[in-house]
Symmetry: C2
Subunit: 334 residues, 2 copies
């Protein structure tokens, strides 16, 4: 199995991207195709040294920067690491694509070049939301706004298929993210999607548990949480922001006097355990579901561990043949 | 000044509601009109004892329960504490209404009986979002879904007027909650609202700072954060859920061994400080803006302190004449 990596994707590129790829080769026995400026990648690989077999380079001279308009950048920068890597998947030179780069550009390149799976209204980005009781897949977290009910229904189906295949949960609980548990809650799209998913559940096909509220996201009341990409993005980012703020606030208050500093030091293992439970790097990346290719998009601020784990996620998605599963699972929806 | 209180609003009714009202009379010198079953209220007041002047009772025999359909309940239960209290405001027997009860029923009763301020498309519920650098008003947090751009524009205007009057911030920073900072981000309604608010800012009328992401909500990058009620509700509840989950997780990890327990005890003042900074009871309640009356809606799980603080918020809104400010501020929008 060969996985294409955007070698200049992360904020601290190329160090975490290349190091994570090398670590993944060592740990998971995959081959990697590092896509980006060849000289830069070679220099980074030389620094690491003692390299295992299975590391390949594919030269790409351009870089899509953060501020750029996704669709325009993808159309114009045909030799960018993102576009070249996606092309490698399309041509069959790689089995999956992993990138910590510009999310919008990754989405645009994947949709433009790999194209949607037949019958899929809109590909969606699913993020593994860490909770103390395990991860939940929040889908969509930003690929689509103003989602129609049938899109939401498909996000539910694709999310269910993904979680079943990749996390091995037999009958994942599927929920809609809403402003209240009752089925009369939600905006129009969510109410209509609710009716659709209820009908699907009644036919015995889906373990649909209804609406859940924002406060229930970290309570792990569902394995798949379906949302419009605008809403899912705001929920995910708000959660990140709150966790970061609490962490910083607690740290600064603890450091404000010697006694609580001592207390903080003694309680450090507990802090670290909490941090580890909620560590996004463990989950490695968000799958883009609904395109003809395995695409895993990670956080810009990923470190080498996150990159390595994203490659693990990609490997698992390839092994479980998630593409074929989605192709056969979504065709019936309209 | 006389403030009507739903005496059976909170989850632990009538204890926090009545106690909070009595405390508010003592501390803020307001009069209160406790609305609910008279015998129940009298019994509660007798338990408290040594009562100050200025405590009145208005009998209401019915109660709107959590599961009920808001609009139906308000139409059918004409002698419910919520409907009777709103009527007291309408008749001029009270200057404001404070309730910890059924949010939907409070909204429905206020809109039905007090009616919208002329020119207001939709009344909106604003919640004070606590951050380490002070509160931000998130508006709307659940009164409206599927908001049109002009509704969002009015939420911005009403929020700005409220924050200026009640928090005393001269030129509040107004932002739209979106899935990215760039103005091309957002769903259709947010993009159009962005253009409207930008035009309003260009005329020198508003300190519009553009889009902010979910992660920036706790960073206090704006004093007024405008959102569709569906989205605002999910952001607010997700934040609550994450804070609760982190708190519980950290607590249980700290208690998992004696050394970290000692550490936790030593660091307790720091924990408590963080808790206080982020304590929703400090902010006391969410103003419903855009109806002909001061209405403050609090959390069902409010304690007496939260009820008292909600009454303080109502008092301040009456004193600063927020109704007249909104009446004159919103008429020009379409």
């Amino acid at each position: 199995m060969k996985i294409a990596i955007d070698a200049i994707g992360s904020d601290a590129r190329p160090v975490p991207d290349v190091q994570g790829a090398v670590d993944a080769v060592r740990e998971y026995g995959v081959e990697v195709l590092l896509v980006g400026p060849e000289a830069l990648i070679r220099r980074e690989l030389d620094k690491i040294g003692n390299l295992p077999d299975g590391i390949h380079i594919c030269n790409a001279t351009q870089e899509i920067m953060m501020g750029e308009h996704p669709a325009n950048a993808v159309r114009e920068k045909k030799d960018s690491s993102i576009v070249v890597a996606v092309q490698q998947v399309k041509k069959g030179n790689a089995d999956a694509f992993v990138s910590m780069g510009h999310t919008g550009a990754n989405l645009a390149a994947a949709v433009l070049h790999l194209q949607r799976i037949q019958g899929v209204h809109r590909p969606a980005l699913g993020a593994m939301f860490p909770t103390p009781k395990g991860p939940a897949l929040l889908i969509d977290v930003g690929a689509n706004t103003d989602c129609k009910p049938e899109w939401l229904e498909q996000f539910a189906i694709m999310g269910e298929l993904y979680v079943r295949a990749v996390l091995g949960i037999d009958r994942p609980r599927v929920a809609l993210l809403a402003n209240g548990e009752e089925e009369i809650k939600g905006n129009q799209a969510v109410q209509q999607a609710h009716a659709r998913l209820q009908a699907r559940a009644a036919k015995g096909g889906m373990n649909f548990v209804g609406n859940i509220e924002g406060k229930d996201v970290p309570a792990h009341l569902a394995d798949v949480i379906v949302a419009d990409g605008f809403v899912g993005n705001i929920a995910l980012k708000t959660a990140e922001g709150i966790a970061k703020m609490l962490n910083e606030l607690l740290r600064s208050e603890i450091q404000s006097n010697p006694i609580s500093m001592l207390g903080g030091a003694l309680a450090m293992p507990a802090f670290n355990k909490v941090k580890k439970i909620l560590d996004y790097t463990e989950y490695g990346g968000a799958p883009l579901l609904g395109v003809n290719g395995v695409v895993i998009i990670g956080h810009g601020r990923s470190n080498a561990v996150a990159v390595k784990n994203a490659i693990r996620v990609a490997k698992r998605a390839v092994e479980t043949n998630i593409l074929e599963t989605i192709r056969s699972g979504v065709t019936a929806v309209d």
